[in-house]
């Protein structure tokens, strides 16, 4: 009960933040009611998925200061668990999804325990290496379709199927991922003020001091890493049902790992709203630039140049991301 109360407690956020958050939440709830294109809907679903990925990354990367560039392996574990269980044994999404989260958490303990002996860049490189190794294993593992991956048959299930999460209209997927999105915000809100959340922030500030205060630094990192992976694995399971086709190159790529970290860093690592802001800017930017400019004769590739330009400008202007800019403005107003 106390946990729920803490999760719903946003009293430390300024009123203006809460008003904007409330308006955004309202917009997200009513968005499908208003006329919209299929492309806008797909973009919104991507935004919600990447917000959740970012929230997961933010726990260990933002609050804990551990730059993790290997999140795609957990997307893969979640996606493959759901796809394999559905295709081979007809297990519904609502059962395979938590199982996938358990597998991801177990794997995170297995690799997290030795990996957190490393620090800084060494840790970041090690997370990349573990993802690549797992991806290589999946690419030759016939049970999970090897490099060809798995496809949830487009003709086997009759939509709408709420148990297996097979829908024809994207609006169903939208509300499912929106539900997870709200739960994710509440969880992170609880987490950042939990004992573990405070421990992590002290570890981020100064690991030696944290240790001298009696915090088990290594164990705190491993536990938070597991929490982060659970988030990412959940979205991976959703991805399998939404796209209905998964393969290592798509779901476990280094590009995806970097994109997840980029969203959170650009929005503002270590803040509640940062990953959402990052995804809210980068995902529509990426999608619509590609849509408007991507296939134009003589302009092929210009969307990617503009997209990269936006990222570079934000990073150069404020390395702590957009949330850093907001805080800077607030500090100036106060002083």
């Amino acid at each position: 009960m106390e946990t729920i109360k803490n999760a719903l407690d946003f009293s430390d956020s300024p009123r203006i933040d809460l008003t904007i958050a409330g308006l955004v939440a309202l917009f997200l709830l009513v968005f499908p009611i208003f006329p919209h294109s299929a492309f806008a809907m797909a973009t919104m679903i991507q935004f919600l998925m990447f917000s959740l990925y970012g929230m997961g990354w933010n726990t260990i990367g933002g609050y804990g200061g551990q730059v993790d560039l290997g999140k795609a392996q957990y997307v893969g574990i979640g996606a493959y668990t759901t796809a394999v269980m559905l295709i081979r044994w007809d297990v519904p999404f609502w059962i395979s999804m938590p199982i996938g989260m358990c597998f991801a958490v177990i794997w995170s303990f297995i690799i997290g325990y030795p990996l957190f002996r490393l620090k800084g860049h060494y840790f970041a490189i090690a997370t990349i290496a573990t993802t690549l190794v797992l991806k290589d294993i999946f690419e030759v593992w016939d049970f999970v379709g090897a490099a060809r991956g798995l496809e949830i048959s487009p003709i086997k299930y009759i939509p709408p199927d709420f148990l297996r999460l097979i829908f024809k209209q994207d609006v169903y997927y939208y509300y499912v991922i929106l539900g997870f999105f709200f739960l994710g915000i509440l969880y992170v809100n609880w987490f950042r003020r939990s004992r573990l959340g405070f421990q992590l922030r002290s570890i981020k500030d100064n690991e030696d001091v944290a240790q001298s205060l009696g915090i088990n630094v290594h164990w705190a990192k491993v536990k938070t890493y597991a929490i982060a992976t659970a988030f990412v694995s959940l979205v991976g399971s959703f991805h399998a049902c939404y796209i209905k086709n998964i393969e290592p190159e798509d779901t476990m790529s280094l590009d995806l790992s970097i994109l997840i970290a980029l969203m959170a860093m650009l929005g503002g690592a270590g803040s509640l709203w940062g990953p959402i802001i990052g995804a809210g800017i980068l995902i529509p930017c990426k999608s619509y630039l590609k849509e408007w400019l991507g296939a134009q004769v003589g302009l092929v590739g210009i969307d990617l140049i503009i997209y990269a330009g936006i990222i570079m400008v934000i990073s150069a202007f404020e390395p702590r991301g957009i949330w850093g800019i907001v805080e800077k403005v607030r500090r100036r107003k106060r002083s």
Partner: protein, 436 residues
Amino acid sequence: MKTAVRFGMVVLGVLAVVGLMVPSAALAAKEIKIGVIYPLTGGAAAAGRELRAGAELAAKIANNVMTDISMDMAKNSGIKNMGGAKIKLIFKDHQGNPTIGADLAKKLILDDKVDGILGCYHSSVTKTVSAVCEQYGVPMINGTSTSPALTKRGLKWFWRTTPHDKWFTKDLFELLKGLTEGKVRGVKAVPKKEIINLASACEKTEWGSHVSDIIKSLAKEYGFKLKKSLLYAAKSPDLSSEVRSLKAVRPDAMLFASYTSDAILMVKTLKAQKAAPKIIWGQDAGFEKPEFRSTLRDSIVGILTRTVFLPKVAQIKKVAGQVNTLYKKNTGNDLGGASARAFTGLQTGVHVLEKAGSTKPADIQKAANALKIPGKELVVPWAGIQFAASGDEIGQNVLGSGLIGQYQKDKDGNLVLEIIYPFDVATADMIFPFSF
């Protein structure tokens, strides 16, 4: 006032005359929107440019009367049975990403209201896009993806014009067998033990991994020894370790399935490491792109690639020569395997629409399943186009076939692809053994 009334009557009169002069069909003409999803950026962008040019040329011929092209599609302006409706292509870039491909397919179907979809080159993207088309009951024609699995899923809205990799790879083994039997033009029978050891390296997505599996099973079937079989990432910036691994088994023939940038890198690395196989064979794609030729130049003389179109085909088929001339005028390059198949894919769509006489999906489905295009209509050297409507390969064109070409120098010193297989249409002696 009087003048104004008189002027108004004259205008109405002119409009009435013009109205009578314009055929009713033209008034009824509408636009047929076809969504085309290709990789226009990323590692396969070079292929994307070719594919786009091929599809655009087919649309241009379909929309205009071109008396100098000997194909039915060029005789009419637009779709004759639909009042001359014009084909409008809406291009999208999937970047080689299956998720992006699926999102674009939804956009094309729900927002742009396309009547059909053409694409997508990468088999992995074709898989997700065809699943979306199946979900919404929108026809999809695939001209360039060759993973055999695509037509084994029992889809009702998916038709593939190109032969798939099982057929193409079988051609390679027939060539190897032919070498041992002395059937190859310009080469005396080679003892099997001299070419028995094979090694393969394929990019590791849907397409490459399928090719790898097919090579394994056919090597066994034809009695060759596959000493090494590896998968690699097409985006890899360095292939040194892969090449070392291939060289280590001392293969007589090296077989590849690569996209453009990795095909170039692979050959460069093979040359740098002084690899010495007697045969290098590429499964089309990167091995046939103009960039492959222009970047590597003389070092590719003797390399074999499977394809469905070579400029030499233009000498055998009149219509291929006519279309090739137009294509070369537009792009500066000859038609290649990708562009010729993109052209044929859209041409098939035009024939289907002509037969259906409407854009209703059910009519298109019925027309596609009953379609038969004779080989003389096509730029590619196939017996024709006819889709399997039953069996375990629904939607697969059963009249397709492949070619194997070899890079050689012509008498003017230009790099050309000569036909080596099928043996009866070979245009030059095969260079054997290969050496850098």
